[in-house]
Symmetry: D2
Subunit: 195 residues, 4 copies
């Protein structure tokens, strides 16, 4: 029902884990999902660009480094200017996720940057509809959306933990839920294209 591409950078493997969780959630909601690393898109003729061109939704992912998306993702950002010029991604669904060592840090700024990029490309932004978790005396770090994000999905990985154990389960479940939401909204919107 919905064709979804996830394009991401991962420096040490944590954001890759998050990307896989987003993909799993999108697949469970009926989406056909392709995961693309930004490294696969360095060449303007790389086949990954056709995958992005054919998708109903593109989900951006990157770790937050020094307060915004990592430089390899930013190289992909610059390269999307060819799609901006042709309007090729207009009206596609867009969404995003990020991981960093801090609970908050400047992950909000990374997600705002993804939104600005999506709007330049004429895309339509879907955030996270989950209520905040871990924000009351009954809350726990195991809650969905334990960090309380709305712009997209966010995860936290301890700086001394490898991607085998971080982000923790709650971060991955939050990413999975987010993938499901994006797939559901995309399916609705893709259906309207046919109708």
């Amino acid at each position: 029902m919905s064709i979804i591409a996830i394009v991401y950078h991962s420096g040490y493997g944590h954001t890759a884990k998050q990307a896989e969780a987003v993909a799993a959630g999108a697949r469970a909601a009926g989406g056909t999902v392709t995961l693309l690393r930004v490294e696969e898109l360095v060449d303007a003729d790389a086949p990954g660009w056709a995958t992005l061109d054919g998708a109903d939704a593109i989900i951006f992912g990157a770790p937050t480094y020094m307060g915004s998306a990592s430089a390899p993702f930013m190289a992909f950002k610059d390269a999307t200017s060819k799609r901006w010029m042709t309007g090729a991604w207009k009206d596609k669904i867009a969404a995003g996720f990020t991981n960093s060592g801090s609970m908050s840090g400047d992950k909000v700024n990374t997600l705002l940057g993804f939104i600005v990029l999506a709007m330049q490309l004429g895309m339509i932004w879907v955030g996270q509809e989950l209520m905040p978790g871990n924000n009351s005396s009954h809350g726990s770090p195991d809650d969905l959306n334990r960090l309380g994000f709305a712009l997209g999905a966010a995860a936290q990985s301890n700086v001394d933990a490898g991607p085998d154990v971080a982000p923790p389960a709650s971060g991955l479940r939050t990413a999975e839920h987010f993938g499901g939401r994006v797939a559901a909204v995309t399916a609705r919107f893709a259906k309207s294209k046919v109708a």
Copy 2:
């Protein structure tokens, strides 16, 4: 096909002119449009809230004062927390516009604030798909999107010009175009709800 509410604040009438242009564009694209001033929504029981609850899309509008949306709009923002708690506006389309005296100023920050609000409410954000105008030797201040915005629609009004003459025609035509785009996306999305 699409029910659209425009909720806005206007201090001196310029943003009201912009709101009317957005409304005209949305109507021309087949939308059923209601214009609401934030002053009509101060009372939690005001009928305008039901209008917002029943809309497929809500478009936010405010002048940029000291770098972000005007305080009366911000009072409306705080009051939407009741819809956040119930999730009543989840999956509605959201969009926004702003006016100020400067060509750029911090209007981008006002639009980012609208987006953050929309995401808190679980809404889906539609920006402006127009290419920038007035950005080449062939450009003119009469161009559509002469200020080059993507997050939403922006207008500039000279600080010594009344709402009878400002924003200029290009700003109003840009707003009108924007209303049409939001109505078109909303119609697609609303149709999928029925199908």
Copy 3:
């Protein structure tokens, strides 16, 4: 050595606790501190405005409501336009803090809004120099800067906890540290005015 004004809004008392902690830290670092509630500044002739005019540094504080500073703070923001017109606050030090129920939420956006306001007024922004806390296997929610903010000081208060117990001690110690930093930078800068 440094005259510091803290201007803040607090809806339920949590941000007031944070404001008092910022004040305590600034005083411990040698600052002369005045706390002002935005409610004291509604009248353009209120004496609090002279306090702000006479300060070397102004620290903004507000809870994050629906993704940005609370509306009462925003009314103060609009009212600063008189200082913008005269340039009266040019070259004063500015800083900010915020509290909300979520670990991250959109507190980053609130702090960005404070920065935009400060820049409109020609002020100079001082953030938080603390490294992130609670971001490794040796970390704890009791760490200074447990949420990992850089733009200013942030605290989290459980939504079912009164201001007698929230924000927790780590949030208040972080605020206190932040007050000390702002006072120290302000003292250096104020000294240069005299020299």
Copy 4:
């Protein structure tokens, strides 16, 4: 009196022109200025890093590509993490400038990204104190700050104009004025270090 480093990326030469204007203004205000291209800082042992380490102020510059700073600047951003870990740039003055084809575009977002980076590094941000130009019936595109920016200096270059003619004189004069302001604030702050 003040040692200033300008670190910038320029894709086609327009931002380089802006950087030179910032440098000229800073020199005229008594600053000792070094211009560094981000390409000179790719190697972690490049001598430019010592220049940055020894500066009282670092001014960031980049074109706005797809809504944020260009990817080569973002590679520099990621590389500053070594200074973040040691706190080496704490309390230095920071400022920024950007150029793009649009009057506004998302240049505000580029400047916000610079600010977030500076705050991560514990730096102190200085914006532009100029009132907006070209915002009344008496205004003109030749005005200083014709685009109305506060977060830093912004210029617009027509997309079909080479760096020999763009940004226009007003954009370069605005950059020059900005360099002077940053130098003046830095001198005050550097003096206090000695005293």
